[in-house]
Every structure is written in structure tokens, then in C-alpha cells.
Symmetry: C3
Subunit: 269 residues, 3 copies
Amino acid sequence: MITAQSVYRDLAKIREQSPLVHNITNFVVMNNTANALLAIGASPVMAHAEEEAGDMAAIASALVINIGTLSPVWIRGMEKAMAKAAERGIPVVFDPVGAGATPYRSETCSKLLSGCPVSIIRGNASEINALVFMGKPGAAKTKGVDSTISSDSVSDSAKALSSLYNCVVSLSGATDYIVKSSGQILIHNGHPLMPRVTGLGCTATALTGAFAAVNSNYMEAAAEAMAVMGIAGELAARNSKGPGSFQVNFLDALYNLSEGEIQSLLKAE
Amino acid sequence: MITAQSVYRDLAKIREQSPLVHNITNFVVMNNTANALLAIGASPVMAHAEEEAGDMAAIASALVINIGTLSPVWIRGMEKAMAKAAERGIPVVFDPVGAGATPYRSETCSKLLSGCPVSIIRGNASEINALVFMGKPGAAKTKGVDSTISSDSVSDSAKALSSLYNCVVSLSGATDYIVKSSGQILIHNGHPLMPRVTGLGCTATALTGAFAAVNSNYMEAAAEAMAVMGIAGELAARNSKGPGSFQVNFLDALYNLSEGEIQSLLKAE
Amino acid sequence: MITAQSVYRDLAKIREQSPLVHNITNFVVMNNTANALLAIGASPVMAHAEEEAGDMAAIASALVINIGTLSPVWIRGMEKAMAKAAERGIPVVFDPVGAGATPYRSETCSKLLSGCPVSIIRGNASEINALVFMGKPGAAKTKGVDSTISSDSVSDSAKALSSLYNCVVSLSGATDYIVKSSGQILIHNGHPLMPRVTGLGCTATALTGAFAAVNSNYMEAAAEAMAVMGIAGELAARNSKGPGSFQVNFLDALYNLSEGEIQSLLKAE
């Protein structure tokens, strides 16, 4: 379980240690991802070329892999970084953006996840479902990068995926399910405006990397990141007229997030 | 002609159907483009690799091609996506960003437009002019990606371009000209702050894709998108101190855009 | 030395001439960079492919090279653009993002800087230090892209780097040092929120390109750009609750920056 105290303790650690989080992520969200990591106190770096991806992972405290805008040359960089991260034992967070939408995405996920261990897979319901049912009947069709099904309907798939790759699965949605064979944590925070801003799922993945950098209990780390996302989202929505002002307020909320706010808003079980 | 009723009807369709708009666009604007599409209710996806561009176009309701940060490997993805879109008969919107600034851009436009049919070309005056006078005397020089001439001065070029590629041409500027052999629609909405925000032309192109996904009269679709851009721009400018706050307010305005606002502000002829 | 008068004179020139600034920069900051250049009145263009980088540099008034998300194919474009810029004698501003973090970044900097002359190198303390001590004892380790040391501690390195490549070095930090053999200018403007927003260093580099386009005294141009950055940052921080609202206010401040604001806030020596 996580508590307001544990969430704040790890947030404070991030602010104090400013862990270097190495991201190989997609073109759409790089700016948001970097800004969200800076806002919670981490130090983001982006480096995708195979010529340096391993060297950057060698000095990072966590690695975040996100396949949102995939191509062969980027996959090679991901492989190098993941191999180095595995060698060093730093946490690896994997975001299968749009898995199920095209064979290329599903196959790339399968290849990367089979090739190197990951600590946490963070995805929406369509993506998690696609990874479990890859090539089998029962797979829901992913519509681009947005989920077409609810997180509640695939929490069993999340457990199956957790067993398959021996990692924590962080399934985001109206309710977030953070699952492993040993149990699950549910986070009920968040706001309906969040899916109307591009890349907030990717931001969740990046923040998960920052929490995993300071808490080696990856189930807790993943749940704390989703809690911080959801709480900052609720705070941001209070003064927002739409997805434009929401984005601004969200970064401000992450930056200012206090123990009192976490205490009064956290809905974890 | 378009009316406030038709603009709102198609906006409501986008909000209801949330069409998947597949974008192969430039690095500068991907985030804005995705956010603007989400703000009006569409579902954006970005996928450029030739390994998956065709498969993504196969599930999309519209394809948006934007050459703003071009390279050979991206062109191959564009070709695959355009071929699949042509095969399926979904609308293709093409943005010749910076055409005329370098031979590479002009030649790439020529190659792509000759290789596959497009439904709508959306560009500024310099770009439209460059596509018509490609390699001939009379071509205005494009200064980077910003237009050096007014839309009024090239509305004849827009008609010529429409005939050349048998498509709607949506020429943006202080007045937007949406032209085809069968006639033209003029939109007088917009605000002088808009060219001071990067990529609002690209956003217009993306929204054109969303409207074309729900209205197969592409001339209407293109005009409705420009109307929504201009009206949201006017609303955003009311509370903006500069291009920073304008961007925020613009997304909020798109998200909240009401039939009443369209009725009171639309200036179409 | 620079004065409020000279800063404002060159800002007014940018607003009047709208110089085309050609950027080959990183994926994280392209949007911010373009928006900051538009906000001060310049005309940004991004074009990285070797097929057009030289042609774009051929029509630009300044070239900005930023290695933040490096790969071999981008380096080839940088080389083409730098060669053309050298041939034409337009200013080249170089940002060694993350130099020292990986061998690939350090070696690429060395290769590019040895291959073609640059007018101004703009970097943080870790990066400037890394370029001077490349491969030698004494090199501080760069932590990703954020500096781990203060600008004060490496102002001597900045002078050494200036001699090495015969260019102005603009070293940013709490105090900015703009140095050349012939002297130095110090800028004391800025705000602690600035390092909490991704890519403001890259924005500084881009604005340096705009000032160098209108003032061929590159030491003055570099100092004026840092002054404008710092002053806009101070103005933005007045109404900001965190890094989200800061970014919005920063663009508004750049857009509205007045001679009076520069006069009352400039701290140059």
C-alpha cells in the first residue's frame, strides 16, 4: 500500500536528489515530459541515437522507453539503452503507446520486452490488452493511441501481463490499477480533462521513472507516480477553463505539490 | 457556402464521433497539432515510419501530411500512408510547409502531389504560389515558412493549383480563400496574433483533416476548419497579453466553442 | 559594453527586419525555440535534412546549431548548413547541449567546431567546461543536460574556449559571462524558475542567433540576448505560480518587452 506519507516522502527524495531520468520517447510529448520531470524536481535527458543511448543510460538513475513515434533507428537506440540499464540494475519503465494499433507497434513491444527485462509497464487499457492478446483472438482493437475500453475491464489482463514479463503493470484509466502477482493498488485520483491533453499518459510514464529512481519497491513507485499525476490533475482542473489552461496549471501543481494536498486528496486502496 | 449551423453541425459530429486523424507532420508542431485535435474532440495519432504508416492510415478517418521538417525516410512513410488513404478513399489534407524556400521542399511537394491524389491543399500565400510557379518565372521566394505576400494577391494561383491537382485549395491569410473550379468561399475571421504563434497554420491543416473526416464536401470542410480557427483565435485574443497566453486561450476556446459564439462571429462569404 | 539603449535598439531591429533564423536543433525544444523567436519578432525556420540544410542556410540571416538530440543523419545536415553559413559569412551560434555527458556528444562538438568556424558558443558551465577539458583530467562530469557547477567557477574555461575556437563564448548561469580575448560582459539578470523550464538555454541560443543577425559585434549580440532572456524571465516570474505559468508569461514578456522595462531591469557590467 501507499500512503500520503510515502508519496510525499518519495516526492521529497526526488526534489532533493534530482535523479537523472533518461527518456527515449516520442516526438509529440518530449517537451511535456521534460517539463513535468523538471516540475517535480527530477533531471530529464533525452538521447536516442544508438551511438550514445547506452552511455547515457550508464549515468542515469532510471530509463524510460516510450514507443509513440517509432522507427527502426530509434528501436536500436532503445535496445542499447535497455541492455545497459539491465546490466546496471536501474529501473526501466516501458510505455507501449498505441500497441495494437499496427502490427509494427505490437511486434516492437514484443521484441523489446522479450529482449530485456523491464521493471514497470505503464499503458492504457487498449495497450495492455493488446500486449496480452498479441496475435490471439480476444484482442481489442486499439484506436490510434487512445483507449477504447475501460481500465476496469482489463485488470485481469494487467495481471496476466505482469506474470508474462515478471514486472509491475501500471494500467491507467478512470481508476488506475497497479498490479503484480503479489497484489494490486488502486488509485482513484484524476480528472476527465486529462485525456483531452496529449501525452499525459506519457508524462505518467516519465514520472513513474522518477519515482522508481528513488524507491526500489516498483509497485509503490508506480502507484505513487499515478497518485501524483491524479492529484495534480485535480488541483489543476480547479482553475482551468479547458485543456489549454489545464496544462499550465498542471505543471504549476506538480511544482508546488504539498504534503497537505496529497493528504487531503489521495484516494488509494 | 457554409453557415454557422453547418460549422456547428460538423463540430458536433467531430465531438461525437471522435474521428481518428493520422498525422505525418513536423517536429515543431506535433504537440500543438495533437492538442488542437483533442480540444475539438478528434483523436490524433502520429506515425511516420514506413513500417507502419500504411497500417495506421488503414484505420484512420483522415490523413494529414505536412512537410515542415522533411527527410527522405519520412517521405517514404508519407508515400505509404497516402497510397493507403487513396485506396480507402479517406480524405488527405496536404500542407506544403516552406514550399519555395528550398528546391528539396518544392520537389518533394511535386513528387508527393503527382504520386497520389489529395483532397485539400492548405498553405499560405508564398507556399501556394510556389507550388503553382514551381521552376517557372513568377514564383515568389518563400522566406522560410512565413509568407511574404498576401493571400489576396494569389487567389488566382490557388485556383490554378486547384485545377492542377484536382483538389480543394485552402489558402490562409488575413482572408482565407477556399477555392475549387466550382467556386470559392472566403473566411474573414482571425487575429493578428495568430502568425506570432508557431504552427497555427499546421493546426489549421490538422483541423481541416478532422472536418473532412465528418463532411465529404471537402470545400465546406476546409472552410469550416478555417472558420473555427479564426473564431477561436478571436475569442482567445480577447484575454491574451501576447502569444504565450494566446496559445493557452486558443486551446480553451476550441474546447468550449459554442454554437452561439460561431453564430455571432462567423464572417464567411 | 551593452546598455539599455543598445539592447532596445537591436530588439527594435529584429522586430523591424524579422531576420530569418535557421535552426537545426533538438526535438525537445523546437516548439519553444520557434515561439520565442516569433515572440521577439524574428522568423524561425527548422530544416535539418542534408538534402536542404545548405539551401536553407543560404537564405537565412543566422544559423543556430544545437546538438540536444543528436544522430548521424542530423550531424550531416549540420555540417552542410555550417559550411554554407561560413561561405556566406552569416553568424553561427552553437549550443553544445549535454557535452561531457556522453563521448558521442563531446566528439561531435569537437568535430563540428573544428570543421567550420562558429561565431558564438552558448552553453552552461558543465558544457563549456567539458569542451575545454575534452579527454583531459579536470573535466567535470555533465549530468545529462543540466549543469552541476556554477558559471563563476568556469569563467576561465570560457576564456580558454574562446581562444581555442576564436569565437565569443556565452556562458549562462546565475551570472552570464560573455567572453572573448578582448574582454568580458557580465549579465546578472534572470530568475531561479528558469532552469525549471526545459529548453530555456536552447531558447537563449536561438535568441542569440536573432541578435547576431542584426548586430555583427557578436559579443554585444550575445550579451544582449542574455539580457533580454533574463529580463523577460524576471518579468514573467512576477505573475507566475510555477514553471507552467512562467512559460506562458515568458513568451508574453518577450513579445511586449519595452525600452522602459529594459532600462529599469538591466544589470550588465
